[in-house]
Amino acid sequence: MPSQPLPDHRAQQTPAQRSDDPRTAAAPSRRTVLMAGAAGAAVLPALSACGGGDASGGTEGGRLRVGVAGGSAKDTLDAHKATDNTDIARVYNLYDGLCGFNPDYSIEMVLAESVEPNDDATLWTVKLKKGLKFHDGSAVTADAVIFTLKRITDPDDPGSTAEQFATLDRDGMKKVDDLTVELPFTAPYVNLLEVFAEYGVGIVPEGYDPKKPVGAGPFKFTEFTPGERSLFTKHEEYWREGEPHIDELEILNFPDETARVNALVGGQVDAISQLPHSQIEVVKADGNLEILDSETGMWLPFTMRVDKKPFDDERVRQAFRLIVDREQMVKQALSGYGSVGNDMYSRFDPAYNDDLPQREQDISKAKKLLADAGYEDGLEVELVTGEISPGAVGAAQVFKEQAKKAGVTVNLKQLTSTEFYGDNYLKWTFAQDYWSSRNYLAQAAQGSMPDAAYNETHWDDEEWIELINKARSTVDDDERNKILKKAMKIEYERGGYIVWGFVNTVDGFHKKVKGLKASVTGHPLTSYGFRRVRIEE
């Protein structure tokens, strides 16, 4: 999740599930007995292909049915308050923002024609594309942009990205003409485009009412029941030529992953998000189904508090990083659906520092560092873990085993997600967490600066902070990236995170669904990009 600092912890909690292959099960013909209950019941629901009218190939039109992980009675269609996976899926399809992330995490202009800063990035000028239409037929104008930003930053009822607009002078926003707005900031804001690309910044018309949501996204609102499902229909005046291809989009909530997989295998949905690792083989084995395996920037770090014993000694932190056999951890905790990390986040940032050598397991060096730090007789630590994300507990268990070799005894303290994010969250000495794809500056603002909301390692390195502050006001990309590379090197050398790997997102879909492609944003199903999809019968 590139933008959402509050991903849905609940949706990630996955109940134990079966791992057997349905195909191996016998199918006795007890049907007659079972049928007695529902005599005359129709067999298999027909794919409800409405409209379209294209008799030749059926490549345009039809209804796409998608099962998305999570959802609850809390579900909302509010453009600026999405928290759960199902909310995010819906928001992506109802609304378009000024910018957006491409599947490779580069930024594209969406509703905006251009978004340009002044010399010190304190004044940004947004120019909208011409002829854009909201779902109700009204034009997308400068007023809508101002209204949207005011709504997000409303101090009485802030949107989920409000904090990232903290330096916006919301009363100073100026409409230059119908399609142009000037946005003044009280401090330089060099990575504003990233914020505009997030799903929580969808442009809405003046007078927007989340109960009857109107946006400029590829689909418009038709039906919605929180905790259950939604039905959207094609926005005929969508700005992208020829998109969306399908007429209707139905998004169904699936809190239970077994039900989600069953619905896909049984043909009741055409695609599902977040296939559990244990079910990947089941889907692969089915001739009608395919998986979408996407590398992402989502990371599941171990967090060491740099202000607490024993981690206040940077030698201990380095030793712990050297204890980890990253390949093994990816293989065991993520069933191989992930890639190795190098104790740095933001792997898709153009500034990402590739020059630093990949850290590998080195037990003797780790032992030596621990001995130098005064722990030659071994060390005992408590690791706080929990089902905060698939793979977290597995990673903790693997770490416990790997640490033994270095004479470190790790005691696991396993909590429920609610307890983990309870009163002691951000206070654990040695714990875990998970974070979505984000570029370096944005992540630093969330998790590593002293004033960050989630500085779980209590990282407070003067030299590093100075670099970040300098980067924040450096408008030139190359210049800024050089500074950020230096900051990354510092975190690589003495930071409090063990970034052992990045998690892949694996989705499943029916072969007839065309157009989905791998995306590194960390949001399933090409960032729920159903505008790209065609259904080929």
């Binding site: 349905p22 099960a25 079972l34 019941a41 619905a263 049984g266 609610t418 309870g422 009163d423």
Partner: protein
């Protein structure tokens, strides 16, 4: 008999009161209070304090309990934290959906189970009787969600894709596409039937051996009349209790089944509410299940009494 019913009614209400107390205290004992659970990572001290104030979490437990109980009598079960609407409104379509599912299961299971039981009794010690006996024993031992999973494997996602694996429609019109109900109903039927079949068989055997049935036969009545007029009605009496127990179980058992089949009823609402610590909804659903259980048992008592002349007379 009226006195007896009133007597039972009184105990039913007493049980309900105890259940309400237990439900209330149990929801209070969940780790972390509702405000904490709802805010999660966003929980700053100020926001926590504000939310606790808003949810009346600072008031003494007795006061919170009192206002909850008072609300029940006016059909006001509070406001769902998660759905942000009255609990009654939030649950209404789900209750209807669950009741539909349960009613269909009950309507299917009861006659089938009674017939199978009676038939087994009449074919006592023949192959069909032994077969039924063994199958019911095995089915009774398998947990209902396992039955559900097996049915899904067999009829939805495996080689035979006859029925939908999950419910993919809306809560307010579950009868719209009956094919989606086949597997959940079948699971419930398989889960509730075995004890009814076994009880009916035992009861029927006893009745068939009784003197009045022998008498009826000796009188030369056709076997049909003997079974339908004399044996059957008398055999059902004792079974009514078991039927009631099983139907009462439905109210609770439906939770796991709904989760498995993604059926939008009270079970799914309950799981959802537990996840989001939506305490008013948890309390309402738990209480509702208890009410169904108690009412069904009360009805069973009445049926049992009505079917048994001895009790009917002696309790007067």
């Amino acid at each position: 008999m009226t006195r007896l019913i009133l007597h039972r009614l009184f105990y039913g209400l007493l049980t309900l009161f105890v259940v309400s107390l237990v439900v209330f205290l149990a929801t209070q004992a969940l780790p972390g209070d509702a405000a904490q659970a709802m805010l999660g990572r966003e929980a700053t001290p100020e926001r926590l304090a504000a939310l606790r104030e808003q949810l009346h979490l600072n008031e003494p437990l007795a006061v919170q309990y009192g206002s909850w109980i008072a609300g029940i009598f006016t059909f006001d079960l509070g406001t769902s934290y998660a759905a942000n609407m009255p609990v009654v409104e939030h649950l209404a379509p789900r209750v209807t959906a669950s009741l539909s599912l349960m009613a269909i299961a009950a309507l299917v299971a009861t006659p089938i189970a009674l017939l199978l039981g009676a038939y087994s009794a009449m074919r006592r010690d023949r192959a069909m009787d032994h077969g039924t006996s063994m199958v019911t024993l095995i089915l009774a031992a398998i947990p209902e969600f396992a039955v559900g999973i097996l049915l899904i494997l067999a009829f939805a996602t495996g080689a035979l894709q006859l029925f939908p694996a999950v419910y993919a429609g809306r809560a307010d019109n579950v009868l719209n596409d009956p094919s989606q109900l086949v597997l959940p109903v079948a699971t419930l039927v398989i889960a509730v039937s075995p004890p009814i079949i076994r009880m009916m068989r035992a009861s029927m055997i006893e009745v068939l051996e009784s003197e009045y049935v022998q008498q009826a036969r000796l009188k030369g009545l056709p076997e049909r009349t003997v079974i339908l007029r004399h044996a059957g009605p008398n055999a059902i009496g004792p079974v009514a209790q078991v039927i009631a127990l099983q139907l009462g179980w439905l109210a609770g058992g439906v939770v796991a089944i709904e989760y498995l089949f993604r059926f939008p009823g009270i079970g799914l609402a309950l799981m959802d509410a537990i996840d989001t610590r939506d305490i008013p909804v948890i309390q309402a659903v738990a209480l509702l299940i208890a009410v169904v259980y108690i009412v069904v048992n009360l009805l069973a008592d009445v049926v049992g009494l009505a079917a048994n002349p001895k009790v009917r007379v002696s309790s007067r």
